[in-house]
């Protein structure tokens, strides 16, 4: 077998062998009644549940609620993060003032903010949005800072040699050079916003902090509460799919925005 000459479709076919085998095994075990029906459900059951979920609108509804929440929180957090990151990246004084504080606060795991935020803002939208914005803030600020701070020295020298004024140096050298790093921050912050939304909804939905709510997190929390494995699998699948789709969206957007390549 000469594996080195495989083309893309061949690779995809080979990649699908194992999952297909697993699904077949899963179905067979189910057919012979070898599975504990409470915990392991059949593939058919998952399909049926997803059909029902779409028919009664519970899955699309939950997804949209989560997505909207993530986008609102992300917009707020990422904009503030961008402004802060650029400021810290450009000004030495601002860096000295804020960098240590931001670096320390960043170390606190996002979900560790929940008890505090829920005490201050309750369990409603304000708390969730604040948490998501907080999560989106740090990667965006870090990306913008790194981008503005790490402009390659040769490019800065070009700006000096060409006698560019401060404004032209920023718009023609610093910001273009920072764009890749800013986009990386954007991608990471969107990812964190999406997961943070889910986590907040789930945590509140489990009733560990009083309250319920809507969204994919709450859907999954309820599914787990009633031990509906089919719904759990479906929700997890959706969570992953939307996360990957968001990611792809940002990457596609980045490719369009950056037609150039660094030397």
């Amino acid at each position: 077998m000469t594996t080195s000459t495989l083309n893309r479709p061949q690779l995809i076919w080979r990649a699908l062998v194992l999952p297909a085998a697993l699904v077949v095994l899963w179905s067979l075990l189910d057919a012979f009644g070898a599975l504990n029906g409470d915990i392991i459900v059949s593939p058919l059951q998952v399909l049926k549940t997803s059909y029902e979920g779409f028919a009664d609108g519970s899955i699309p509804g939950a997804t949209i609620a989560t997505l909207l929440r993530a986008l609102v929180g992300w917009t707020i957090g990422a904009s503030i993060g961008l402004a802060f990151g650029v400021l810290i990246g450009l000004s030495g004084v601002a860096r000295g003032l804020f960098d240590p504080s931001i670096a320390s606060l960043r170390q606190i795991a996002l979900f560790a903010w929940i008890p505090l935020l829920s005490a201050w803002f309750g369990n409603g939208e304000v708390m969730k949005i604040t948490l998501i914005a907080l999560g989106a803030f740090f990667p965006m600020a870090l990306g913008a800072q790194a981008g503005c701070q790490n402009v390659p020295a040769p490019f800065r020298e070009v700006g000096r040699v060409l006698e560019l004024d401060r404004r032209a140096t920023l718009t023609k050298i610093v910001f273009p050079a920072a764009i890749p790093s800013i986009l990386a921050g954007l991608e990471l912050s969107l990812n964190i916003a999406w997961l943070g939304t889910f986590g907040a909804e789930y945590l509140i939905g489990t009733g560990y902090i009083n309250g319920m709510g809507d969204g994919l997190g709450a859907y999954l929390a309820a599914a787990r509460e009633y031990a509906r494995m089919d719904q759990v699998l479906l929700g997890v699948l959706f969570l992953a799919l939307i996360g990957v789709a968001l990611d792809r969206l940002v990457i596609g957007f980045s490719r369009r925005l950056i037609p150039w390549r660094m030397p």
Partner: protein, 264 residues
Amino acid sequence: MADALTLSRPKTVEVGSVQISDVSKTFRVEGRTVHALDDVSLAIASGEFISIVGPSGCGKSTLLRFLAGLDGPDSGRIAVDGEVIDRPSLKRGIVFQDHRLLPWFSVEKNIALSLHSLAGSEAEKRERVQYLIDLVGLSGFEKALPHELSGGMSQRAAIARGLAPRPPLLLLDEPLGALDSLTRSYLQDELLAIWEREKSTVVMVTHDVEEAIYLSDRVVVMEPRPGRIAKIFEVSGKRPRHRDDPDFVTIRREITDLLAHRRD
């Protein structure tokens, strides 16, 4: 701001003369003091093409960075037309070895960037950019991004960017160092043609002795530790020169002998 420069008219006054007097510079490298330049003096006349050769560490690039105004000496004085250099200026164009075209701008915009801080109408600047693109033979590549260009083409664009503000003094830091030998000798001839047309003073740092003799009026040979001028060679002979000319061969022998001798 260098608003005194004129974009469209060739200059009539003799400018671009350089006076380097008693320039010294030391660096700290891994706890040791390195004398990059030790009491270097050199006068360059207006319109002269001068090359600096020498082994690495002899301070030739440091000297060029001083001339550009990117760094300054510890002691001594460097002046262009009697004016002491204290910062970079468009009156002294520089072309780096690693072309340093901004990757996010097209060839056209990269060249236009060197006119950004100059007075003059947009139309005038556009005309100047187009003239330079034609001059360096990049017509048809105006909209190309740097990563789409070959090494030789990038270097031409970089030369055009250095020439755009009509600097009386053009500094070349191993401008052809990264190119293959065919492209290199081709661009050497172009460089000569450009120099003859633009009438600027040129200071070029290079590793290539032959290139230095082929192009220059004078070749400055430097030696390292401490960085000093070992000897200055006058190259007479009309251009274009021939590399197998007896005079050419003699000077090349002398310079290579000197370099081999100094390299301990």
